[in-house]
């Protein structure tokens, strides 16, 4: 496997920059070359010349170290490079944002900025999951090349032929265009629209919720997803960095194998019973509801506890970027809402949370 080379610009002390570069070099998945930023004009000119030798660029959020006359930030460089790449001036490469957690939160709408210019962001934290970050960065570098290799062909990018069964709005932006959009648009669509928000693709915990399974108690979980549901696994671009499943394929596999039963109509115990009968696997255990909840007709997960949840017992969360009509909302459980853990609930849910709180039996 080729080792992908990332240029890393950061104005922090040499030691902390070197520590991050070393961290990301874990298991030799990617190579990272740290550098101090130059003044904006020189930096852009330099990157234009040198980026052809790299497969990706990592930028610290604020490049305002003492050696620079005028401070600038990562989005300014990213935006400039995206423009130059779109005009063909440089090779398109993934651009990754990193910063300390505090800086990420303090900065004005970092979420939005990241959404517009970056492929991925990670926070400098105490003990970062370096391997996870490195795998995602390698997947992005490989994916950028792959999108170019398959000539922007959407079924090949997603590695799925029967895309007509999906909501036509999802891929509309790529239909009927005279020339391909910039690679970043394809990459950003897959990572941000398909991976980061549940919809046609779902994460393992959400798949487990829909199958009614408690992963932690089910020794045969891997056998189940790797066997019966293997065809539902997403194998398209970036799948080596992000593990996802096609929700519609998983639902159809269950219906066909169970001779017409619908996951959506069964509770967790009945889903698991059917799964055991179909697969012959005995060590699959039905998930149970979180405290305060009763329903096991799970269809979503609590974003804080990552536990199965019936959306009727959940509360929509507040998001900076409004989900698209074809994406699903994300929820938190009452337990998370009442203990103020995890994401903020959507403002339209506050009265309902308050009402349920007031109706709780006094302890």
């Amino acid at each position: 496997m080729a080792k992908y080379k990332f240029l890393y610009l950061d104005d922090e002390s040499d030691e902390s920059t070197a520590a991050i570069a070393d961290g990301l070099k874990i298991k030799d998945i990617i190579d990272v070359i740290p550098e101090e930023p130059k003044i904006f004009k020189d930096e852009i000119a330099d990157l234009k010349n040198r980026l052809k030798d790299f497969d990706g660029l990592i930028l610290d959020l604020r490049l305002d170290g003492k050696k620079l006359d005028i401070a600038y930030n990562a989005p300014a460089i990213a935006q400039e490079l995206r423009m130059i790449a779109a005009e063909g001036g440089i090779k398109p490469i993934p651009i990754i944002l990193c910063s300390t957690d505090a800086k990420m939160r303090a900065t004005y709408e970092v979420e939005k900025i990241c959404h517009e210019h970056f492929d991925y962001k990670f926070t400098k934290q105490d003990s970062p999951p370096w391997e996870k970050f490195a795998r995602k960065l390698a997947a992005l570098a490989r994916g950028y090349q792959f999108i170019n290799e398959v000539r922007y062909n959407i079924p090949k990018i997603l590695n799925r032929e029967d895309l007509t069964t999906l909501d036509p709005r999802i891929l509309e932006v790529f239909n009927g265009i005279e020339k391909p959009l910039p690679i970043y648009d394809y990459a950003s669509f897959v990572v941000k629209d398909l991976f980061h928000q549940p919809g046609v693709l779902i994460k393992e915990k959400l798949l487990a919720a829909r199958l009614g399974v408690d992963i932690s108690k089910s020794e045969d979980w891997q056998k189940l997803v790797g066997g019966l549901f293997s065809k539902a696994a997403y194998t398209g671009v970036f799948s080596d960095g992000w593990q996802r499943w096609w929700s519609d394929i998983a639902i159809n596999i269950f219906r066909e194998a169970s001779k017409g039963k619908r996951l959506s109509m069964l509770n967790a115990a009945d889903r698991v019973k059917a799964l055991s009968e179909i697969s012959g696997l005995k060590n699959i255990v039905a998930a149970t509801p979180l405290e305060y909840n009763k329903s096991t007709n799970f269809w979503t997960v609590c974003e804080f506890y990552k536990a199965p949840l019936d959306p009727l017992e959940g509360f929509k969360i507040h998001t900076t970027i409004q989900p698209k009509a074809w994406q699903e909302d994300r929820f938190i459980s009452f337990l998370a809402a009442v203990t103020k853990k995890g994401p903020k609930p959507h403002s339209s849910e506050l009265n309902r949370i308050q009402a349920i709180k007031e109706e709780l039996p006094k302890k």
Binding site: D248, R262, L263, S264, L312, W326, A355
Partner: protein, 252 residues
């Protein structure tokens, strides 16, 4: 007149359920519906100054309700449509539901008032109309014909005659067919299963929808069915007419 905190809490839950169905419909109809009328209904539920007026003109702050105006659903079942040449058909739903929140978890009539009015509009050489409504009969209304409390009335070609000139449709009152009560969520199941079956099946594959649908069947259909069944004495074990889906395919 003040709406109590309890009533507002209850209305808040119904509002958030309508939000769930609005999101689902936006998702499953692939953008071909406008959910604005649902959000008007949601605002009514959340607005403490909105107290629905009952048919006798009275208002009761324990009553909740909403109105859906001109909610349009595209029709995909065009196979047997007459006259020939009709290309584009849509349902226009106008509905009003009022209920007392204290009856929500009882086996009593869950609703105080219901108008579920559907206009079917087809466009061909000329615009053709058909329609039906499901009503709750107002206890105080004087009428000669006996009215089942919930009934459906519609107009159509009674002999299913080939080449029937629909311009000659005789307009007179059709029988009042007994019908179970509906809110917007149950109504969506009823309308999509009949007129947009592929959307209905997609909705059935979505656990959020089936969970909503099951809850509203339990609250609105169960009291109706149990009360009707209770007219006769019976043993549950003697019921052989199963499964329920043969009686009504959209009971889940």
């Amino acid at each position: 007149m003040n709406v109590s905190k309890h009533t507002m809490h209850f209305r808040e839950s119904r509002a958030s359920e309508l939000e769930l169905i609005a999101k689902l419909l936006n998702k499953n109809f692939n953008g071909s519906i406008n959910s604005y009328p649902i959000f008007n209904a949601i605002n009514q539920l959340r607005n403490p100054n909105y107290i629905p007026t009952l048919k006798d003109g009275s208002v009761n702050p324990e009553c909740w309700g909403y109105e859906i105006e001109d909610f349009v659903i595209p029709v995909e079942t065009l196979k047997h449509i007459k006259p020939d040449g009709i290309k584009n058909v849509e349902l226009i739903l106008n509905m009003k539901v009022i209920a007392n929140y204290k009856e929500w978890e009882t086996l009593s009539d869950p609703l105080c008032d219901l108008n579920f009015n559907v206009v079917i509009r087809g466009i061909g050489e000329q615009t053709c109309y058909s329609g039906f409504h499901i009503d709750r009969h107002f206890d105080g209304a004087a009428s000669i014909e006996p009215h089942p409390i919930y009934h459906l009335q519609h107009s159509s070609n009674p002999y299913k005659e080939e080449g029937f000139d629909y311009g000659r449709t005789l307009s007179l009152d059709t029988p009042r067919i007994m019908h179970y009560p509906m809110d917007f969520i149950l109504g969506i199941g009823f309308l999509t299963s009949n007129y947009s079956p592929s959307i209905f099946y997609n909705l059935l594959d979505d656990g959020t929808f089936t969970n909503l649908y099951r809850q509203y069947q339990e609250r609105i259909w169960k009291p109706f069915s149990h009360s009707l069944a209770d007219h006769w004495t019976f043993n549950k074990g003697d019921i052989v007419w199963k499964p329920t889906s043969t009686l009504c395919p959209f009971i889940i």
